[in-house]
């Protein structure tokens, strides 16, 4: 179909669009643009939103199945990657394999670029445990918004108490109780937008909560750059206001690929940047290296995502086809 790719538009869900944007921010931040913070917080917010959307109202058994499936998808590639890096760099640490190194390392977040998987795994296990004790389904079915607000309230208040016994600052704030508010804020956002007839009051309250909670955690607790607060708050506002957006057809596919390849990019971009740094730093300017780090790592991760997905899908078709033939004969 030869219609114009620039003047025609395709609809994309805002969550997908922000996922793509969020991961780009993460990679940009790691490529040298250290002022661009907040990408990961957006991704965590969307994870929380999706968790509320798909799982939070389910009963305990179904919730456990969902969490187990999600963890399986996260852990298998992460452990494989850790194995690969362990062999490559000839270093092994049981704390990494057990996904608890974020509670120990004070010089760096983790030995390998999988700290997010560690934290999200710990957080999901804690959520599963609390869900079993307090039966989330019972409360979420009464009022998802009310339940989410209560949980958000506790998730913001709890970190300073834990800090009295375990210093989060020394551990780079990468502990599950410091991520929980971000994840649970996603529940609040979903509870505010899930109805087709969104109440303006709900939206206003939710927006205030986004701003206030981000301010408390980023500015008061963590005392980090204002950029993270500003970027996070603006992106979260977009999430609150739009469900779908129109993007020019030419940008649709790159956005879908980026959004689909988020986990690949997250796991692999650090390693790719490391090699680009080694290969280029002596021959090119700092800015050139930074630009290359961004584009090459994103592109390679997307290519890898496409190759792996295409291989798995093609293998599945071949398998189905041979079983069809053997059934017929």
């Amino acid at each position: 179909m030869s219609f114009n790719y620039f003047t025609s538009f395709r609809t994309i869900e805002v969550t997908d669009f922000l996922k793509a944007l969020g991961i780009c921010l993460v990679v940009l931040n790691h490529s040298s643009w250290h002022n661009l913070e907040g990408g990961l917080n957006i991704l965590i917010l969307i994870s929380g939103l999706n968790f509320a959307r798909f799982s939070l109202k389910k009963d305990n058994t179904e919730l456990a199945v969902d969490i187990a499936r999600l963890l399986k998808k996260l852990l298998i590639p992460s452990l494989l990657l850790m194995g690969f890096y362990s062999l490559l760099f000839n270093k092994f640490d049981w704390k990494e394999i057990l996904l608890i190194s974020n509670f120990f390392y004070t010089q760096k977040i983790a030995a390998f670029p999988v700290w997010y998987v560690q934290v999200i795994t710990q957080l999901m296990l804690v959520i599963a445990l609390i869900a079993f004790v307090f039966n989330f389904a019972k409360w979420t079915r009464i009022s998802l918004l009310g339940f989410s607000l209560v949980m958000l309230f506790f998730s913001i208040l709890i970190p300073p108490f834990i800090d009295q016994y375990l210093s989060s600052a020394e551990l780079f704030w990468k502990l599950p109780h410091y991520i929980a508010w971000n994840f649970i804020l996603g529940w609040v956002v979903w509870a505010s937008i899930e109805d087709e007839n969104q109440s303006p009051l709900k939206l206003c309250i939710c927006w205030l909560l986004i701003v206030i909670s981000a301010f408390i955690v980023f500015q008061l607790y963590q005392e980090i750059s204002i950029n993270r607060f500003l970027i996070f708050s603006s992106f979260a506002t977009v999430l609150l206001l739009f469900k779908k957006i129109q993007v020019p057809t030419i940008f649709y596919r790159p956005i879908v690929i980026l959004a689909s390849a988020v986990f690949y990019i997250f796991l692999l971009h650090g390693g790719i940047m490391y090699f680009i740094q080694i290969l280029m730093i002596d021959h090119f300017s700092y800015a050139t290296v930074a630009v290359c780090k961004f584009f090459i790592s994103i592109s390679l991760c997307c290519v890898l995502f496409i190759l792996v997905t295409a291989t798995l899908n093609a293998l599945k078709t071949v398998r189905e086809s041979s079983s069809k033939v053997s059934n017929n004969s």
């Binding site: 219609f3 999706n50 798909f54 779908k244 879908v256 986990f263 997905t309």
Partner: protein
């Protein structure tokens, strides 16, 4: 020539339309506004595409086209891509914007288009994949079908409908047609039936009928909706696919308690669209049936030798005859000038007749395949190719159409290949042409299609898994890059394939199948491609409801 709304001025004192903010428009106003529009369109017949919304402006534009004899296609206003594709393919004279109270007719193609005098309405049958194919509906098709529906629903000018479905859906449009035809009124709203305000409006304006697709009823069922809370309701209709038995019985029982009628209906776009209905008194005992043919129509069953089945309980293909069968398909602008007389409509559904005369659908005819989402009748191809000097057997699946020619003459292959490329808009690589000295047959002398398929299509795959893998790998890469589109068969196909969950059934949802954020993008993108328009709450909608919501799907 009489048109569907020729006589509506006689209802000039009645209310025609009420919008959801309470403004009402009389038939006199509607007629006057429509006449102004017909003047803009001119005397000569024009092809018009309407950016359809559930609003007054859309109704005015639609009535104007009907009154002026201008063939019209309604396209969802929020689906720019679809409109662009359709406009590119068919080059309409006008595209109508309906975002204000007065429709804006914008010239898209000033050239004269040859349009058949009888051509009245165009309905789309394929999704966003493949060529957009349009069903041509004549004035007499739409009039006879609307009158038949009015007859069994007993619609009068005291009735009041509500736009519970988008007007661009054929089912939604038929609600507009029947109510305007009898001088009844319609409440216009774009709200979903799951929205509380929809029901506030319903009660406020004392709407007398509710129409829904399976999704509407499943959604109402899940929130324990009770029609007794809408006391003005006289009857409820359901079409758009098979609704599960428990939901049918739930609402049938509920409606019976308050003396309201529940009609289960069946149709296809090609039949303008209604074919049959289940009389409300039969719904308790025969909720699995599609009922009886509408007035003026006739349903029969045929076996695979095209012989009519008269015994009850014997399965065969459901064939419909009636004055509402379309005047053919349009694949390009040139097709608008012609009219094809179709004596019977092969529904592609396998059904049986119960002893009480009611029809029940039990499956689909295997002689239909859907490459690129386009329904193809293999018998049609076989019959057309059999006019050549060779014996030809045609079979296939949703990926390949296999043409086997019994001949020694190699030149026939190129002539048949040429004929195929001229006759069908499907990509040539879909067709696999093979030459044999004798086509294998079954003991009843019919072609052994199963064996042919296994021998030539699936056999090839078995012999060369590596080749198949490489072919599939290349295809998948192109799909992921957006350079090709995956020809999804159905929503179930998308779910089972991406979620790797072959156990999904019609009532499964993305949520119930444990879909998560990691698979969300892939599924939403595939659905956007397959459905043309992604519903807001799709992750909570059942596979069946999503399938029903597919643009232009049969209902």
């Amino acid at each position: 020539m009489p048109t569907l709304f020729s006589h509506i001025y006689t209802f000039r004192h009645n209310t025609a339309v009420i919008n959801d903010s309470g403004e009402d428009y009389s038939y006199a106003k509607l007629y006057a506004d429509a006449i102004v529009c017909t003047e803009q369109l001119g005397q000569e017949s024009k092809l018009v595409f309407i950016n359809a919304r559930n609003n007054y402006s859309t109704i005015v534009a639609y009535v104007a086209c009907m009154l002026g004899g201008h063939p019209v296609l309604l396209v969802a206003a929020d689906n720019h891509q679809q409109l662009e594709e359709l406009a590119y393919s068919y080059q309409p004279n006008f595209i109508v914007n309906t975002h204000t109270d007065t429709p804006e007719f914008k010239v898209y193609n000033p050239k004269t288009i040859q349009l058949h005098d009888e051509l009245c309405l165009l309905l789309s049958t394929s999704g966003s994949t493949g060529s957009p194919k349009l069903v041509k509906i004549s004035h007499s098709n739409i009039i006879s079908n609307s009158d038949a529906i009015i007859r069994y629903l007993k619609v009068t000018n005291t009735d009041r409908a509500i736009t519970s479905l988008p007007i661009h859906y054929s089912y939604g449009l038929s609600i507009v047609n029947i109510h305007l035809r009898v001088g009844a009124s319609i409440v216009l709203t774009g709200l979903s039936v799951t929205n509380e305000n929809f029901w506030n409006i319903y009660k406020q304006f004392s709407v007398t009928s509710f129409s829904g697709v399976p999704y509407s009823f499943q959604a109402l069922f899940s929130v324990n909706f009770d029609f007794s809370s809408a006391p003005s309701t006289r009857y409820v209709t359901q079409a758009g696919g098979k609704l599960s038995q428990n939901v049918i019985l739930h609402f049938a029982n509920q409606l019976k308690l308050t003396n309201k009628l529940f009609f289960i209906m069946y149709g296809q776009t090609e039949a303008s669209p209604r074919i049959s209905y289940l009389p409300p008194e039969q719904v308790f005992e025969h909720s699995d049936c599609i009922g009886v043919a509408i007035h003026g129509g006739n349903l029969t069953l045929h076996d695979d030798k095209e012989k009519e089945i008269t015994d009850s309980g014997v399965a065969g293909e459901l064939i419909y005859r009636g004055p509402n069968i379309m005047m053919g398909y349009a694949l390009s602008q040139n097709d608008f000038a012609s009219m094809e007389y179709m004596e019977a409509l092969h529904t592609g559904d396998i059904a049986l007749r119960k002893s009480n005369g009611l029809f029940k659908i039990i499956g689909r005819v295997s002689r239909f395949v859907k490459p690129f989402g386009i329904r193809v009748n293999l018998d049609d191809i076989q019959n057309k190719l059999s006019n050549t000097d060779a014996i030809v057997a045609v079979t296939g699946n949703d990926e390949k159409i296999l043409v086997v020619i019994q001949t020694e003459d190699k030149t026939l292959i190129s002539s048949i290949s040429h004929q195929i490329s001229l006759s069908y808009t499907l990509p040539p690589e879909i067709f696999q042409i093979e030459m044999v000295s004798t086509i294998p047959r079954l003991s009843n002398d019919k072609f052994d299609y199963k064996y042919l398929l296994k021998l030539f299509v699936e056999g090839v795959k078995q012999k060369s898994s590596t080749r198949l893998f490489l072919g599939e790998f290349k295809k998948e890469v192109l799909i992921l890059l957006g350079l090709a589109e995956k020809p999804w068969d159905s929503v179930a196909d998308i779910y089972s394939s991406i979620l790797n969950n072959p156990t999904c059934d019609d009532l499964s949802t993305f949520r119930s199948l444990s879909g998560d954020s990691l698979s969300y993008v892939a599924v939403s993108s595939a659905l956007e491609q397959y459905l043309g328009n992604l519903p807001d709450n799709w992750h909570n909608m059942s596979i069946q409801s999503l399938q029903d919501s597919r643009y232009g799907n049969e209902f």
